[in-house]
């Protein structure tokens, strides 16, 4: 609502977010200019992953980015106090205080490309698959959110941590491509230690019929749950360090 008060700013960010999307699809078409297959993924299959990434990324920028910036700023300038005083879940408030709608068109573009490519590939997705993709998509969002929230919560421990919100977006490139791209220690790290490579890869594999291992799906769901619980516990502990401002 606050954003709509400043129409020019809204339109500007709308254009920027659409440009990001355009570039992403453009670069993938460049890669496939000389190749028909990348790590076992065809151009259309990779479009599925990229569309999932676009949708997740659109939601990340719409919901998480602004709120994490607000959260860390609120810690430094004492604004966090007003959220802590209210009879609602503080984490929920911190997550939803500023939602930007300028990335909504990106989400819609991602969804349209995803559906049209799936139709083009003539994939048969059962109701179970659809539910599984939805669940994995939500898990991906929760995983990014939890990881980002833990990093942002570190701001309660130090006097100033301005760039903490640049860390999580830095990992976006990891889940922009399928997990098969990674090998060796990198694959192990992004699949098991910090499984962000699974965020778009797993639902992409379900949609394209690549049948990802059930154990990996369960592992990702478990890791996401663990990450969410860790974020909650870390906040509950770290908030004791909050010193507000003045007084």
């Amino acid at each position: 609502m606050r954003m709509m008060e400043y129409r020019t700013d809204f339109v500007f960010w709308l254009v920027v977010s659409l440009m990001w999307t355009g570039f992403n699809y453009f670069f993938i078409s460049l890669i496939f200019g000389k190749s028909t297959n990348v790590y076992g993924w065809s151009y259309d299959e990779l479009l599925i992953v990229l569309s999932l990434f676009t949708m997740i990324d659109a939601l990340t920028w719409s919901v998480f980015y602004n709120n994490m910036i607000e959260y860390t700023n609120a810690v430094f300038n004492g604004e966090l106090s007003k959220h802590l005083l209210r009879p609602v879940n503080t984490i929920f408030v911190l997550t939803t205080q500023k939602i930007s709608y300028n990335n909504v068109p990106r989400f819609i573009i991602g969804l349209i490309v995803l559906v049209s490519t799936a139709i083009k590939l003539d994939v048969s997705v059962s109701l179970f698959d659809l539910l599984l993709v939805t669940l994995l998509f939500i898990c991906g969002m929760v995983f990014i959110y939890s990881g980002w929230f833990i990093l942002a919560t570190l701001s309660l421990w130090v006097e100033k941590l301005q760039n903490i919100n640049d860390i999580m977006p830095g990992f976006r490139q990891v889940y922009q491509v399928p997990r098969q791209v990674y090998t060796g220690i990198t694959a192990f790290t992004f699949t098991f230690i910090f499984p962000i490579a699974l965020i778009t890869s797993l639902p992409g594999e379900v949609i394209t019929g690549k049948n990802p291992p059930l154990s990996l799906i369960l592992y990702f769901i478990g890791a996401t749950t663990g990450m969410a619980l860790l974020a909650k516990a870390f906040f509950a502990y770290s908030i004791r360090k909050y010193s507000s401002v003045g007084g």
């Binding site: 606050r2 106090s81 007003k82 802590l84 009879p87 609602v88 908030i239 004791r240 507000s244 007084g247």
Partner: protein, 335 residues
């Protein structure tokens, strides 16, 4: 008023570890590998009880620990020692049932959405505090009328004056009819008319809702007009807790004798009765102010009346600000 205190504080402390930076560029470079820290005792083992319906004034210099105490009572800060109880709750647990029964208003902070009209924040608070429609409408109408803000609640908050914003802040904080109200410098920066308006409003709110109020203010008029009881805090420690009148009785050594004479008198004549604080004569008006021993004020006034050409005399208590300064200087001398 019941015997069980609504707010109970026992041995409450809050210590902060602060980094002491050495000045200059070299100090900044050195701080990269070595930092000196100091423990600041913002609140240092204070205890008090407050009963339902009381308005208590927290008095203290800047950095005395007033706001830190309020923040601990609101559940914003985790106490270093002690567990306060407010409405039977441990504030730090920040239970929703507790948060729905109190409000903290900070004169230097705002909870209103800056870019939207205040009415939007009121509606947000309605949802957050789960205020029933009927109660919301009734309370909002009453508060809007009491504070005379019918015309401004639809205007973007950033376009309001400080006084108008403060009125809207109070409405936002009181929509859920809190039983306990913490007011931290609610009149700071406001003109005298607006200060008076807010004081009258706070008094009316206390009377109508039986709310228990803790107030901190640098303006002694706020404390004098609103609070029967005052707690004085200095360097995190409580140094006085009692009726405002008791502070005056305990710490005010003198009374002020304001005199108007029909003809010229000398300073020397006046000095025989007390300390001459002010002396003025311009050929037509002869006035003086004397500080006289408190217990002998009436006798001294009578002596002055009989020996000097007095046409008018008033005996006043010294300003509360002066008395508080006296309290702090005595405490400083003790250390």
């Amino acid at each position: 008023m019941t015997d069980t205190p609504l707010i109970s504080v026992k041995n409450l402390s809050k210590h902060f570890k602060v980094y002491k930076k050495q000045p200059g560029l070299w100090g900044s470079i050195k701080s990269l590998w070595h930092r000196e820290y100091e423990t600041v005792k913002a609140v240092d083992g204070i205890s008090f009880d407050i009963h339902e319906g009381e308005i208590v004034g927290f008095i203290g210099m800047n950095g005395a620990g007033k706001t830190t105490t309020l923040k601990m009572l609101s559940g914003l800060l985790y106490p270093t020692t002690g567990t306060p109880s407010v409405l039977g709750y441990n504030p730090w647990e920040r239970k929703a049932a507790f948060q729905k029964q109190f409000a903290l208003v900070m004169g230097q902070k705002n909870q209103l959405w800056w870019d939207l009209p205040a009415i939007e924040t009121f509606h947000l608070n309605k949802a957050i505090y789960e205020i029933p429609d009927e109660q919301f409408e009734k309370t909002l109408n009453k508060l809007v009328k009491l504070l005379d803000v019918e015309d401004i609640i639809q205007i973007q908050v950033r376009k309001l004056s400080l006084g108008q914003r403060m009125k809207c802040e109070l409405i936002a904080a009181l929509l859920h009819n809190p039983k306990v109200l913490f007011l931290d410098e609610p009149t700071i920066g406001l003109d005298v008319v607006m200060q008076k308006t807010l004081r009258d409003f706070i008094k009316a709110y206390n009377k109508e809702f039986g709310a228990t109020i803790i107030l901190t203010s640098h303006y002694m008029d706020d404390v004098k007009e609103l609070c029967e009881r005052a707690i004085i805090i200095d360097h995190g420690k409580k140094i006085f807790d009692g009726k405002l009148q008791d502070i005056i009785d305990k710490y005010a050594r003198n009374k002020i004798l304001s005199l108007v004479f029909s003809k010229s008198v000398t300073k020397k004549d006046l000095a025989a009765f007390g300390t001459v604080k002010e002396f003025s004569e311009d050929g037509t008006h002869y006035t003086a102010t004397l500080l006289v021993a408190r217990k002998e004020a009436a006798t001294t006034a009578s002596k002055v009346l009989s020996k000097l050409p007095v046409v008018d005399v008033t005996i006043e208590e010294p300003p509360i600000e002066a008395i508080i300064r006296e309290v702090f200087s005595k405490e400083k001398a003790k250390k």
